[in-house]
């Protein structure tokens, strides 16, 4: 492979200009709305208006409530599936490069299916543990 001179196409400042403009627009829009509503909008306060918004109902209790630990368990089950995806991506990128007519393709498919099967085991365990029961 010949040593090519360092190409500037990827580093040309102009190719980053759209991103810069996009960021600029986003920031301007956000700041403009906050400033404009403070300057133009009427600011009448009252007891009802200061209340926490809870779908229009009267608010009950404090917002600093401790969440049920079940949410945390659900989050952990989610984590299993979340991490599984990381491993599926490299596999999915490599798999099309395998000659599909050889038995190796089946082997690769079998391996990933076994890997997915381990998640099924985790799911069955979660069900038996009663993670998905809300009563």
């Amino acid at each position: 492979m010949p040593t090519a001179p360092i190409t500037l196409a990827a580093t040309d400042l102009s190719s980053y200009l759209p991103i810069l403009i996009l960021v600029g627009m986003a920031v301007t829009f956000g700041v403009f709305n906050v400033v404009a509503s403070n300057l133009l909008g009427p600011s009448r306060t009252g007891k009802v208006k200061e209340k926490t918004y809870e779908s229009g109902m009267d608010t009950i209790g404090s917002a600093h409530k401790r969440f049920n630990v079940r949410f945390y368990i659900i989050a952990m089950v989610f984590l299993v599936f979340d991490i599984e995806i990381i491993f599926l991506y490299p596999w999915a990128v490599t798999f099309p490069n395998i000659d599909q007519s050889t038995p190796d393709a089946l082997l690769w498919l079998g391996r990933i299916l076994f890997f997915v099967f381990t998640t099924v085991v985790a799911y069955v365990y979660g069900v038996r543990k009663g993670v998905f029961r809300f009563d």
């Binding site: 492979m1 490599t94 490069n97 395998i98 000659d99 050889t102 190796d104 393709a105 085991v121 069955v124 365990y125 038996r128 543990k129 009663g130 993670v131």
Partner: protein, 553 residues
Amino acid sequence: MNNVIAQLWPEIALFVTTCLVMVVGLSKDRGTRKLCAPISAIGIIVAGYLAATTSVDTATTLPFMAKYGKVLAAGVGLLLLMLMAGTADRQLEDAVDRGEKFEPLRSTRAEFYAFFLFSLMGLMLCAGASDLIFLFLALELTSLPTYVMVALSTRRDRSMEAGVKYFFLGAMGAAMFLFGFALIYGATGSTALADVAYTIQNRAAGTGSIGPLALTGLVLSLLGVMFKIAAVPMHFYTADVYQGAASSVTAFLAFVPKCAGFFAIMLLVGCAGWAFGPDGYGSGTALPPELRILLWTIAVLTMTVGNVLALLQTSVKRILAYSSIAHSGYMLVGVIAGPGPAESTLASNGLAAVLFYLLTYGVMSVGTFSVVAALERRRRATAADAAIDEVDHIDELRGLWKRQPHLAAVMVICALGLLGLPPLLGFLGKLPLFTSALGAGEIVLVVILGLNSAIAAAYYLRLVSVPFLESGEPSTPDAVVPTPFPSRALAGVVAAVLVVVAGLAGGTLGSHAERAGTFRFPTKTMEATRHASQPTSTVSVPPDAAERGPNAR
């Protein structure tokens, strides 16, 4: 690739067992739940059998260690499993007996046995690791479950505290050896241990040193792994965690992470090799000087600190914790001594000595911990939940010879074995450490090792004599009684019998360790065979992708 799968059959067997146990342990039927332990036992036996029959040599500098390590893990694992009886869910099952409803979310039995098997699986993977990624995952698989096992082992605050302490220090150790692995990869451009060893030793042959980046990486990863074996800069947690965990889990901690740590240390240090002498690379059979100084200091400090602090303790579990630190120091002597000259035997090969010592230490420590685990203290005559406590103080073993002579005998035999008394297994284990270090010319280290063994006699003899002393106050409301789990005492008896029998006929075990400790100098041919076994033609890279280079998308 296929030979990587082929050497994983024991772990696959354990994995299938783990899946079964996780589901079975949550059954509504009490009899089905009780099946957890027998299923685990069958799984471990099958894994041990598969390890003995199907193991293949790994592409590392210690190609035969995988088989020995896996069989060792299965053997001692079986003893540990016997010790685990009744550790998980004891109060919950008692409550179910009284007619309460079984709540799966409160139960921990399934997790406990599953984590036990996972950790054992990690130990087996460590023995067969041929790659830094593999080794990292194996070490983490060994230690992550142990954190949970410690926290779950009793329902008291101190177990929780021990678990948290163990976890945080363990995570720091893991981060350290991970950073070390990253630097080793940076220095060599590969994570395969054979390639790493080849590159490092090639560089050493060319320039006379292993290079600063590889050295920093090795030092950091060794320091991180020192956490697993409880060696001196990372030993602070040991006594607290061992005391806070239930005795059966403590026995587990004293063997499994330590064993995994030593496998990792030998694989890592093996990459740097024992080919340095006074005139640089190739002129002797010592480690690179920087690594030798590091390990030498750690070994001396570990032995001394462990033994001296053990003298000051009054809790049996703390004594055994500090003795476990000291034994790590002894074993590091074997790592410093190295494989010795070519065609070396158990007596001259320090690595074989370490592997054999791991076996002897595992059996003897299971024995001593089983005595503590097989006893419990009841505050009243009735067995109410909260009134059951662990036996911890050394005076609680007084009069044991009169009440439970078999447990007292186990304590006597195993403590004498740990001390290294001649006819017992411990002596057979310690002797090669001395001879290999002498053969490597480490005279000072041998003297310190001998002195430390003498210091250790003081507290081991205390453990030996206490069961024969009269119990102090007979009117004490607390009664030390055996637990209702006979398999715990059985584990101790089996260990004690092994210490005596294997001590008399330890030659065969030694010859296995001798083969397992064979050090093979890395060559490029080893690397070539590793690649040749993989079907390279199946992955066809599109030609344009190959031209565009790695970072073109």
